[in-house]
């Protein structure tokens, strides 16, 4: 996974790797939180352009970061979701609280 912070827009972007399951989530969760706490971004953007597989662990991951970002006065957005990921996202109902945006 790579991430970058856009200072002028106060945007923190996480470009997730190909497969998001419990195994992957356990590996990256702490790093995401560290970066959110460090930059206190206005927008945390999850870029799914590389993600071809996601199960419910990904939903838990997004909700968890949503809570943290919210607490620090920011919001979470998602972008570039492919079909299989979009299906999980819509089914979980989190599309109601997390905005999908155009990016790049």
């Amino acid at each position: 996974m790579n991430s970058f912070y856009k200072k002028e827009d106060k945007q923190l972007i996480f470009r997730l790797d190909e497969e998001i399951d419990e195994c992957e989530v356990q590996k990256i969760r702490r790093r995401l939180d560290n970066e959110i706490e460090r930059y206190m971004p206005k927008e945390v953007i999850f870029d799914f352009s590389k993600v071809s597989f996601m199960d419910s662990a990904g939903i838990g991951l997004i909700i968890g970061r949503y809570k943290l970002a919210n607490m620090l006065g920011g919001k979470v957005q998602v972008t570039n979701m492919q079909e299989p990921v979009k299906k999980i996202f819509d089914m979980s109902g989190i599309s109601k609280i997390i905005e999908e945006v155009q990016y790049e």
Binding site: D21, D55, S56
Partner: protein, 159 residues
């Protein structure tokens, strides 16, 4: 050997998190002989991933145990059985409710059974406290266009 199935496989593996990917990829490779669509493959992989992850984090929790995965094919139908000898489920009906989780502290979303049920045609859960859990799932693979073309060509020839 008498067997009503066209093909069948069985694997056993340890309840380690990196086996989630192994299990779903093994099933995807096995069912490729049915010529499923990309969407069907994605749905089945996701359901397998949910059931295996449940055995690892809920069934065995911190311990290491064995997870058994059986996949069978008959006509165009896939049968999958995933079982553990872990702690078992106290109330299956409650466990199946969307958003229900006993591990909110681990950021589980409680959507595992909901995803299995909506991605598969049928999901059965059997569980005995202290003995373990078995999830059995079915999914019919629709004939894809290639098969349809072949069928139409055959019918034409017969006419």
């Amino acid at each position: 050997m008498n067997n009503i199935y066209d093909n069948e496989m069985k694997i056993e593996f340890l309840s380690k998190s990196n086996n989630e990917a192994f299990a779903r990829i093994a099933v995807a490779a096995f069912i490729a002989q049915l010529d499923p669509t990309l969407e069907e493959i994605a749905d089945i992989k996701t359901a397998v991933s949910e059931a295996v992850t449940n055995s690892i984090i809920h069934g065995y929790e911190e311990r290491i145990g064995i997870i058994k995965l059986i996949c069978k094919i008959r006509n165009k139908e896939v049968f999958i059985e995933i079982s553990d000898s872990g702690k078992g489920i106290e109330n299956i009906e409650m466990a199946k409710q969307p958003l229900f989780t006993t591990k909110a502290n681990l950021e589980r979303s409680g959507m595992g059974f909901t995803i299995m049920e909506s991605f598969m045609d049928d999901v059965e859960v059997e569980s005995v406290l202290g003995l373990g859990t078995k999830v059995t799932m079915k999914r019919k693979i629709k004939s894809n266009s290639q098969n349809e073309e072949f069928a139409i060509a055959t019918i034409r020839r017969e006419e």
